[in-house]
């Protein structure tokens, strides 16, 4: 691995350009808040290193935001998380049939939006932690079992949308009603796409 460090160190041989004039020139321009990036505005007037046309930039920034996430931003709310909600996410979860009474026995439950999906490192790995998918949620409401703004849960389901060419996982932005035991998200009805009607079922199950 020291070889890897050495390869990264070679980057220091490349001269970085002096951007000081450019950044002050950009900073002095009025912002046009029709192009939203971070909280999040990007000026339309582009400097000498300007690149993509505005429409491709907009599309790209939206994907980029989804790929890299941001604690300050509102993520897209239309993700497809059917790989997570259809069928079993844990061999345990289908042992029990979904009923409000069984839901009420889960150790945690929340209403949250997927902000990151990390697929398994290696399904054949002897390390069980490398065989699971990690799903990070931004929690809108905890029904029981937690209070953190974000939470990572595990599932043995594997997302279908993540590719090695950098496409964003299509489930990013999906809002779910999720529940489970220990670190594991349960499928088989215990985790489902958010609807107001089902949110009322979750709230009632946990006394809310």
């Amino acid at each position: 691995m020291s070889d890897l460090h050495e390869r990264f160190r070679r980057t220091d041989r490349i001269s970085a350009p002096d951007l000081s004039e450019e950044l002050w020139a950009r900073a002095s321009r009025p912002e046009d808040d029709t192009v939203v990036v971070l909280d999040r505005v990007r000026p339309r007037g582009r400097g000498p290193v300007a690149l993509a046309a505005a429409f491709t930039l907009l599309a790209g920034l939206a994907v980029g935001a989804a790929m890299l996430g941001d604690a300050d931003e509102t993520v897209m709310a239309t993700g497809d998380a059917s790989w997570l909600t259809d069928g079993s996410s844990s061999t345990l979860s289908c042992v029990e049939e979904f009923t409000p009474e069984n839901l009420a026995r889960r150790s945690w439950a929340f209403d949250g939006t997927i902000i990151e999906v990390v697929p398994p490192v290696d399904l054949e790995s002897p390390n069980p932690d490398e065989q699971v998918t990690l799903v990070t949620f931004r929690v809108t409401r905890w029904y029981t079992g937690g209070s953190d703004e974000t939470v990572i849960v595990k599932t043995s389901n594997v997302p279908g949308g993540v590719t090695m060419n950098g496409d964003a996982d299509p489930s990013i932005g999906a809002r779910l009603l999720a529940s489970g035991e220990a670190e594991y998200l349960w499928g088989c009805g215990f985790t489902m796409p958010y609807t107001e009607q089902d949110a009322a079922v979750f709230a009632a199950a946990f006394g809310g």
């Binding site: 691995m1 070889d3 890897l4 460090h5 390869r7 990264f8 070679r10 980057t11 220091d12 490349i14 001269s15 970085a16 350009p17 951007l19 000081s20 450019e22 950044l23 002050w24 950009r26 900073a27 002095s28 321009r29 009025p30 912002e31 990036v37 971070l38 505005v41 990007r42 000026p43 400097g47 290193v49 300007a50 690149l51 993509a52 046309a53 491709t56 930039l57 599309a59 790209g60 920034l61 994907v63 980029g64 935001a65 790929m67 890299l68 996430g69 941001d70 604690a71 300050d72 902000i115 990390v118 490192v121 990690l134 990070t136 974000t150 990572i152 993540v162 590719t163 090695m164 950098g166």
Partner: protein, 159 residues
């Protein structure tokens, strides 16, 4: 968004930040994108947006890194829609890291950003998680996978 006035204090602060961190940020963006022009655009734009916000930002350095990687990621995705990216960098300036850039292209954006921020910029997992809006454990997974993929890619090239 309310644009803050650029006071002498803000000017001094950001000039200092750029002097101290500008080159490291640009090189990290270069490794992330493989494209000098995108690195320049993202770095300049992130600093410019931060300067406009002035005192509204609690941690300007973290904000600039996060904004720069987000902007670069967006521009990379936009380019991918319009042009076929080449596997090998052709700019002679990039020769010292040509093999590394080619290997990095095999990684996902999260893996590439995480390992670049760790191995080149020297950030901890926790700091990287903050920059990327991710979690420490997820960053650990990304770096673990990135190392394995990079090692294999670089060995392939060396053979």
């Amino acid at each position: 968004m309310q644009t803050a006035a650029v006071t002498p204090e803000i000017k001094d602060r950001f000039e200092g930040l750029y002097r101290e961190h500008g080159d490291r940020l640009w090189r990290s963006l270069l490794l992330f994108t493989g494209r000098p022009e995108i690195a320049s655009d993202a770095a300049a734009e992130a600093f410019a947006q931060a300067i406009r916000r002035g005192d509204q930002i609690r941690d300007p350095l973290a904000w600039v890194w996060r904004a720069a990687f987000k902007i670069a990621s967006g521009e990379l995705a936009a380019e991918r829609r319009t042009v076929e990216l080449v596997d090998e960098p052709t700019d002679p300036m990039l020769e010292p890291v040509a093999d590394l850039l080619a290997a990095l292209r095999r990684l996902t954006p999260h893996q590439r950003a995480s390992i670049t921020l760790h191995h080149h910029a020297g950030y901890s997992y926790r700091e990287i998680a903050r920059i990327l809006g991710s979690s420490t454990s997820a960053v650990g997974v990304h770096i673990h996978r990135a190392k394995r993929l990079l090692r294999a890619a670089l060995e392939d090239r060396d053979e």
